[in-house]
Amino acid sequence: MRLQHDMLPLVVSHVSYRVDGKAIIEEVSFAINDPGLTVLLGPNGAGKSSLLKLCHGLLPPSSGSIRWGDADARTARQKQAMVFQRPVLLRRSAAENIDHALKLRGASAAERAGVIEESLAWAGLGDVANMPARKLSGGEQQSLTIARAWALNPEVLLLDEPTANLDPSATRRVENLIRSFAATGRKIIMATHNIAQARRLADEVLFMNHGRLLEHAPAERFMGGPSNPLAARFIAGELVE
């Protein structure tokens, strides 16, 4: 199935983001036209996380503009969901965590009950619905934040290093959820520093380093041989500064 996307294209033009005069993101411009999974790849400190937050309207750009279709980033946020590297979970049960997010997005009580059950089942968390969310394992916690995002039925899902703190089996579990999410035809943008993960999931790659966008290419071409020398060294497994 293919969703009607009024969020696309995402057009980022000449965006810079500075904190105390230090440039975190510098003169980044790109456009994303297609649904599917875009991976924001680069070493730690490349500015991936900041770029995601700029796109989600959580950070205001110092200069430049970000448009999702006809909407600016802050307005577009209402039809998006974001998952953070460290799962932000409320001090409540798994089910109540989803309930809380749905309530903030204005869902009625009747709608919520069904969606909560459905999304927990989707993420394989049916058994722990009433467990305190923060007592779940790392993999379960991140699965829960993705289930929470799924429950919101967003047009765009933003993922910031969702498996950076997870062991391999938990990573597999979360990746499966991301694949299943992508299969619904929604737009997903995921930041990662993990090349293998990018290989497994990406349809398209944005390669960043030191706050600059160095390459934007379909995943297959990028993995086959990036044109940027730094990107080439990065996917060859060298340490990139």
């Binding site: 089910a95 109540e96 309930d99 919520r112």
Partner: protein, 284 residues
Amino acid sequence: MQETHRKILSAAAVLVVLAAVASLVFLSSPKGPSITVASTTSTENSGLFGYLLPIFMTETGINVRVVAVGTGQAIRMAMKGDADVLLVHHRASEEKFVNEGYGVERTALMHNDFVIVGPASDPAGIKGTEDPADALRRIRSSRATFVSRGDDSGTHKRELGLWKALGSLPRNDDADWYRESGAGQGATLNIASEVDGYCLSDRATWVKFANKRNLEILVQGDPQLLNPYSLILVSKQKHPHVRTAEGQQFIDWLTSEHGQELIAAYRVDGQQLFFPDALEAAKE
């Protein structure tokens, strides 16, 4: 399930708020008419009010709320309009209060007497002395510990009067033996019994006092130690909200033959603590 949870919670919150507000309202609304009496501590601590007020309440339906503080503080309270009736024992202050227009008139109620208590060992050798001034002179010259109320109460004022009659008040360099407790009669007696000191006390508090230990009465019976209590109705001219009718009713009741008999009948350990004066005074 989440929804019912929420509903129960908000219902509980509302209930708690209501309970708090209700308790504020309920707690602050006395049932029936009530007056506030600013009184010296001795009448309260001796149990006299505990004995008289329930009878007054039954007979008149008026609830009397007693704030027991030292005479000085009681008078200041009444001057600020925070009491309807004053019951104190320092004649000069009472007359000043009435003359300045704060009180309607002074009515003699009853008396008891002051006693000088001290350790049975009596280091200053005052036992058997009749003149209280003489006793204080001996305490001063032997620099035996004396515990003063130091709180501007009627008893304190009386004690200062006795020192003044000796020529001078205790000074700063007397601090080694002259201690000011700055507290009520009972607290002061507690200190005296703890440090084996001498102390001036009204008889009523002394008799009721439960922690005497080595202390005993050493000087008593001199006319200088007479302790008369009076009642004053706070003036409506100064404080229009004063409950004059109920206040006057309380004064009339206490000074009536009936009230005076009740006062005379009050006993602690078989001992009469207060001696009615009102009928005598009314005759004059």
